[in-house]
């Protein structure tokens, strides 16, 4: 009866392996699962949460954050989440509400501790001061939702994230506080660097494709004088394109900033007619693979901008 012995050994080995396999997910389960609408929020959450969190971003940095498909696979992610971080201001209105409802996860419904609207406390621009109608295009009645492009808002968001992580996982409070301090210190240093790089170009006029950049422009003192879209969400029209060409010629606007997910045909045409440069400007972490975190976002955009501007001078 030799046969049973090896098989017993094999069985033991299998059982051990199975136990190890089971143990691994348990260890992972101890981490807070954070689902974010944008990769930018995931990046900041990773920085603040360290190895106590694992993050998943619904929208990729290179896709239009307004148009994300409400895929059932996202329902699975949300059903397991401990915390959902959103941009708010109706940026996610096109896909997130049905996903939350289908998640069967009470903890991440708006109003719960597991739902964090990161716009709270941030400097939000373009809050309508008059009655809004859809004649204005796809306007956001609560203000411009692309606010994370101001690094100061990044600081506000990091603090909000640290506070919420601490609330959900009090045992990690010290870690979160330490990580937040490190994040803020690095952000402060980086801001000095970015501000110094952008200082020579203060007041530079730019045209953007979509209204994604008011916060960036405010922080780095650029002047947005027009958009390629005639109205938010409305594709370029020939007459508006002509107006933009004339405006750019008249005001000597040196650059058009275009998000990576917009067609560059019209911007290229405008650039050709007006002598400006088309700059692919990344609104989010992950916009290209080299933008790995929130600092990389500004590094990339600012370096591209500075390089382009130096070329024009």
């Amino acid at each position: 009866m030799k046969a049973p012995r090896p098989s017993l050994r094999r069985l033991t080995a299998t059982a051990l392996a199975a136990a190890a396999a089971l143990a691994a997910p348990t260890a992972a389960a101890a981490k807070l699962r954070v689902v974010t609408s944008l990769q930018d929020f995931a990046s900041i959450t990773d920085a603040v949460g360290g190895n106590r969190v694992e993050t998943f971003a619904l929208a990729k940095g290179y896709q239009d954050p307004h148009f994300v498909d409400a895929k059932p696979s996202f329902v699975l992610q949300l059903s397991r989440a401990n915390l959902l971080e959103v941009a708010g201001l109706e940026l996610e209105i096109g896909y997130l509400p049905p996903l939350i409802d289908q998640s069967r996860n009470d903890a991440i419904h708006p109003g719960s501790a597991g739902y964090l609207d990161l716009s709270i406390g941030c400097d939000i621009l373009q809050r309508p001061s008059q009655v809004v109608t859809r004649a204005m295009g796809d306007v956001h009645p609560y203000g411009n939702p692309h606010y994370w492009t101001d690094p100061e808002n990044g600081r506000v968001m990091a603090r909000a994230i640290a506070a919420r992580l601490t609330q959900l996982d009090p045992g990690g409070g010290a870690d979160y506080a330490r990580n937040l301090a490190a994040f803020e210190a690095r952000l402060g240093a980086k801001e000095k660097e970015w501000d110094a790089k952008m200082a020579p170009f203060a007041g530079t006029k730019v045209v953007t494709f979509h209204e994604s950049w008011p916060n960036f422009a405010k922080h780095f003192r650029l002047a947005i004088v027009g958009t390629v879209e005639p109205k938010p969400g409305i594709p370029p029209t020939p007459s508006h394109t002509l107006e933009i060409v004339n405006l750019m010629r008249a005001q000597k606007v040196p650059a058009i900033l275009v998000e990576p997910y917009f067609d560059r045909k019209t911007p290229n045409y405008i650039a050709e007619k007006s002598g400006a440069k088309v700059l692919v400007f990344y609104p989010s972490v992950g916009g290209i693979s080299s933008i790995k975190d929130y600092f990389g976002l500004f590094d990339t955009d600012i370096d591209n901008f500075v390089a382009a501007m130096k070329g024009t001078r």
Partner: protein, 522 residues
């Protein structure tokens, strides 16, 4: 929610009724309309006597101030306009300008307050209450009974507010002034400095209306659609009920009558990965029956639905639906839905006894094949009484398939959806069981940001007489001026087996949506 809209219409927020979810009503036209009615109130006030007029104008000042205070309200008040200005790096001109505005506001308010106080003293005259600032509500009470309820409840708030420092902005009556006050819900204890006039609107459901206009050319002797028709005006009312549930109503107005297309409550916080719906709802049978007409990629229903699920309306049931997630390995989404409905549905089920119910089960698997490509497979099985005899039943079986391709970077401009369904109806009836089979296959390709082209092939036996088969093919072109409107043309040829008639028709559809911003269908 067990089903997703499967139109290729990535940008059709508004028309995605299936997936439409809660919205905050903010600065939407309906409020304005309400605001427009406000001027009627002062006239009523004049009729009802000077004191009521006074209380009303006080209420107005409060409401105006409240509107200016509410940060998200798109109020036209200078104070609201000043907020974004303050966010800019302040220039000396800005600061001076702001100071001037504040000083002007202060002067204006002081003058108005003085004037009002004088009037108050005159009117209150010898009555003992004049001394107490909150007392004027007392004299207003005897006068109020004949007047509408809103002013009388607004009065105490107004007087409290007058006693407190005025919030801001001497604007004319803000949109939701007295007319919006809900007397029963928020009586006098509403905080003076808050937004008492708005509170009644906070929990109103978000409202949307979708118009569906259809014009038809060509000849069809079997299925006669009118030359032009406002086929549907769908009123959507959606809100959260309480921490455990949300409610969705879709009232479908035809040109002459109204149907509750759907009206259900969804329990979103059940244990065990369950999601339950109770009420009237489109049945989760196959891929398209659960979708509202206006989120389909076609202006018409495919023959499978027309012939096998009871007609152009499809199968709508009243009862209970429970769906559970059954996660599979490798992040594959799967969901099992079980539904029980009353055994009546036009042209499909007919109950002769109360206990004759219709049942539906649907199992759906979704998987991302890549970042850009995903696939959905669905299995459906249903049965219910068909009313031809006491025990006659119809069994329905379905298999559906959807493949979506949408590269994320260029997804605004190009995408593809391929879908198909096979359905079988086994109908027990006197003279023998009818086994009817139907199928369709369709593809929709997005050519440009606002342009879609599609095609559909279809065939279905008649459920009551499966010897006869109808067939059809169609070409569809869709243009979206914006996310909120859609123009569509369909060239359709159908052959009707029973009547031995062929029909070639052109359908032109215009859809337009107003109100709350809905979720995009998927």
């Amino acid at each position: 929610m067990t089903s997703y809209a499967v139109t290729p219409a990535r940008s059709m927020h508004q028309l995605g009724a299936r997936a439409r979810r809660r919205r905050q009503p903010a600065g939407m036209p309906p409020r304005q309309a309400r605001g427009c009615r406000a001027p009627a109130s002062p006239r009523a006030a004049r009729r009802s006597g000077p004191i009521l007029g006074l209380t009303l104008s006080l209420a107005w000042s409060v409401a105006a101030g409240a509107a200016a205070q509410a940060p998200s309200a798109p109020a036209s008040a200078p104070a609201a306009a000043a907020a974004p200005a303050a966010a800019r790096p302040a220039s000396p001109e800005d600061i001076a300008d702001l100071r001037q505005q504040i000083a002007a506001l202060r002067r204006d308010y002081e003058e108005r307050l003085n004037a009002l106080e004088q009037r108050l003293e005159q009117l209150a005259g010898g009555t003992a209450v004049a001394a107490a600032p909150s007392a004027p509500s007392a004299p207003s009470a005897p006068i109020a009974p004949g007047a509408p309820p809103a002013p009388s409840t607004a009065a105490p708030e107004a007087v409290q507010a007058a006693a407190a420092p005025p919030p801001a902005a001497p604007t004319p009556p803000a949109p939701e002034a007295p007319a919006a006050a809900a007397p029963a819900a928020f009586p006098a204890e509403a905080p003076a400095g808050g937004a008492p006039s708005q509170t009644s609107n906070y929990f109103n459901p978000s409202v949307s209306v979708i118009g569906n206009f259809l014009a038809v050319g060509g000849q069809n002797r079997v299925s006669t659609l009118p030359s032009s028709e406002l086929r549907e005006s769908e009123l959507g009312l959606q809100a959260i009920v309480d921490p455990y549930a949300r409610a969705d109503f879709f009232l479908s107005f035809g040109e002459h009558g109204v149907d509750v297309e759907e009206g259900f409550v969804t329990f979103t916080s059940l244990p065990e990965q369950l999601l339950a719906k109770v009420g009237r709802m489109r049945v989760t049978f196959g891929a398209v029956n659960s979708l509202h007409l206006h989120v389909l990629p076609w202006p018409d229903e495919p023959l499978t639905v027309v012939n096998l699920l009871g007609g152009e309306e499809g199968w709508i049931g009243t009862g209970v639906s429970v769906a559970r997630l059954l996660p599979l390995p490798g992040d594959t989404f799967s969901e099992l839905t079980a539904q029980v409905f009353r055994g009546d549905s036009p042209n499909l089920f007919a109950a002769q006894r109360r206990g004759d119910l219709a049942y539906n089960g649907h199992y759906r698997v979704f998987r991302d094949l890549s970042e850009a490509t995903n696939v959905t497979l669905g299995l459906s099985y249903a049965y219910g009484p068909n009313g031809t005899t006491l025990d006659a039943r119809t069994i329905l079986q379905g298999l559906d398939f959807t493949l979506r391709y949408k590269p994320l970077v260029t997804g605004l401009y190009h995408s593809l959806v391929v879908r198909g369904e096979v359905m079988r109806s086994l109908r027990g009836q006197p003279g023998g069981e009818q086994r009817a089979l139907g199928w369709y296959a369709s593809a929709d390709y997005q050519l440009a940001r606002r342009w879609f082209v599609g095609g559909r092939l279809e065939a279905a036996d008649r459920a009551t007489d499966a010897r006869h088969t109808d067939t059809g093919r169609a070409l569809i072109l869709t243009f979206w001026p914006s996310e909120f409107s859609q123009l569509r043309a369909e060239l359709r040829r159908r052959h009707y087996g029973l009547e031995e008639q062929a029909a070639t028709e052109a359908l032109f559809q215009l859809q337009f949506a107003i109100g709350a911003h809905g979720a995009h269908p998927f």
